[in-house]
């Protein structure tokens, strides 16, 4: 979530052919730019406020006239570190990395099958994929909890890896399908005339073209898995807790916690922000790639 907001709003229009009414058009551009900035700031402000609050004392964190000027402190970050964030971070990394790898491993062939090599009843298959996202998670938590409990996998990080894979797979297949459809048909025809086998076509022709799309898909999966809270809080206890579960430990019903919670949340958001920043170019490329239709 933080990633999309931390990138400056993209105000550039695709290069327009020169037109006589250029002046009118540039006025429209200015307006679009203003709107984009307002939306960007509106999205970014809560994140900015969270970071700001994380450097406050608890007494400054929640005041009726919000404080912009205050004496900054690193006390809250010290508190978060001393609360033992380490194991939670490791668990989050395992859950995120492995679920994303599994999603790509299963999702790329699936997306290929339902786009470039349409199998029987492609539409039904696609609908089936997305239908698994139509039920709210809370509606399935009881059966999932019972099954996980029965097979003795409660409080095990691999349970989350499997669930996050299942959670992200439909989105990934749908996203990647739109990228696959961008691949020019002539290239595939050429490849099949040359007698290239399926796997080779996929690996040497299709994948390089859609790699920004795969990047974008992977990043979305990383963000969803990193931020997932509901499964994590219900299915883990002492061993497999992830960072979002660690965060709620700072909320107390009888005390002040906003500053420390902000510090913990800032730290939790940081890895995703960094990942998004590193992948920024690929991400923008990938997102505009699939979206031009």
């Amino acid at each position: 979530m933080a990633v999309t907001t931390s990138t400056p709003p993209d105000t550039q229009e695709p290069a327009a052919p020169p037109e006589p009414r250029r002046q009118k058009r540039s006025a429209a551009n200015v307006w679009l730019g203003v709107v984009a900035w307002i939306v960007g700031i509106a999205f970014f402000f809560p994140v900015f406020w969270m970071v700001l609050t994380s450097f406050k004392q608890e007494t400054d964190a929640y005041t009726t006239t919000p404080k912009i000027i205050f004496e900054p402190t690193l006390e809250q970050y010290e508190g978060v570190f001393s609360a033992g964030v380490g194991p939670y971070l490791v668990n989050s990394v395992i859950a995120t990395v492995f679920s994303t790898l599994l999603v790509l491993l299963l999702g790329i062939p699936a997306a290929f099958a339902v786009s470039l090599r349409p199998v029987k009843k492609t539409q039904d298959v696609l609908f089936f994929f997305i239908s698994t996202k139509m039920l709210p998670v809370v509606a399935v938590i009881v059966p999932i909890y019972v099954v996980v409990n029965q097979i003795g996998m409660l409080d095990n990080i691999w349970t989350l890896v499997v669930l996050y894979t299942g959670m992200n797979l439909p989105i990934a297949v749908w996203m990647m399908r739109s990228f696959f459809l961008e691949v020019p048909g002539e290239l595939l025809e050429q490849a099949s005339i040359d007698g290239a086998p399926l796997w080779r076509t996929l690996r040497e022709i299709v994948l390089p073209i859609i790699s920004p799309g795969i990047f974008a898909t992977a990043l979305i999966c990383v963000i969803f898995a990193w931020n997932e809270f509901f499964f994590a809080v219900n299915l883990t206890a002492a061993n497999a807790g992830t960072v979002p579960v660690f965060l709620v430990g700072f909320i107390t019903s009888e005390g002040l916690y906003w500053a420390q919670l902000s510090a913990a949340a800032t730290m939790a958001a940081l890895p995703v922000v960094i990942a998004g920043w590193v992948a920024q170019n690929k991400l923008v490329q990938g997102l505009s790639f699939g979206a031009v239709k």
Partner: protein, 458 residues
Amino acid sequence: MRGAARRGRTRLPAVLGAVVATLGLLAGCSGAGALGSAEGVETVTVAIVSNPQMEDAISLAPEFEAEHPGIRLRFVSLSENEARAKITASVATGGGEFDIVMISNYETPQWAQNGWLTNLEPYMAATPGYDRADFIPTVRDSLSYEGQMYSVPFYGESSFLMYRKDLFEQAGIQMPAQPTWQQVAQYAAQLDKGPGQQRGICLRGKPGWGEVMAPLDTVINTFGGRWYDPQWQAQLTSPEVKGAVQFYVDLVREHGQPGASQSGFSECATQFGQGEVAMWYDATSAAGTVEDPAESTVAGKIGYAPAPTVATPSSGWLYTWSLGIPQTSPRKDAAWQFMSWMTSKEYIQRAGNDPEIGWTSIPPGSRQSTYQIPQYQQVANAYAPLILDGLQRANPQQPTVQPVPYQGVQFVRIPEFQDLGTRVSQQVSAAIAGQITVDEALEQSQNYAETVGESYQR
């Protein structure tokens, strides 16, 4: 070309195989956060609510481990709502993740009846110096089922009224020894300087059965209202309940804090601690927060009065966070060793003498002997006797004027109440926000309560 193709063909299974192998390898060390346990060392997992006193206990736990080399402790610290949901799910389904669970007097008797908890009487009897009789009697009874204790209290709380002595003095108001709600409303009006300035009182308005419903239930009780009559007929549209809720909503809307429909304990603690409101009616455990100079600018200027009343002799609530052992735990003896340490007289001494914690932040309201400790009397003289008195006078068997078929002061001790209380609280919160009238809120609440009541009428 052919060669390349063959290479390509063989690589997919190879890659898959490598990934599966890696997964298998890592699955062996499942839960990377887990600490490997040495031979002969038992690891006790404790599910705990992340309130300040509990965090203090976690910080002192290494001392316990040093004294008990055979026991390692692992804490799962969650906020109240998450902890309650998690612990309930785990204990009810026999999930067995926890050896010790932090629960309250709402859960303990119900769960004991369901056979989910371990009877602690034999453990207490076998622990010299634990002194079961020292627990405050109302607290002890609230954690018992058929006379047997199924959880032991870590701290207990009632509710009381906090007010700014300096502001009262300036306005020439004398707080009575036992204020009534009408008096409190009058003082709130006198001390209210209008929107954007110092307001008269802070009252919770946030949805949640443990949020707005807790103080509101005590107001309903003392106005003579009740959730059900002895035949389990819902009573939420009775004149008493209507009067109480209308009073509460009017008071907080007219003289209460800004953003009242989203205020809970923490928000009120901040507003009162920053000197933005003149009074605050809430849990007695608030004293530790508002008397802490690091968190409050009004420390030392605060007066305390018992929970305001109308038609009942007292109206404070009774709540306790306590520790129990689920029946499923295979490590009951080790679990008891830690529980008895955390709920002992020695723990209170240890916390009080700890430079990081101190006497203002000890877990109060569990043991009578706490109130005999000179150091505690010295720092907490302004409120400690009121807490003890409030707890001793709380009456979960007879919370209001007329008889009721349930137990509990600020809750109805039936399993359905978590849901019912939350639904009703959402209606009340909407009334505080001004989206609906009190009558509309209570009509809807009455429907919810009737549905629940019907299942008890047989």
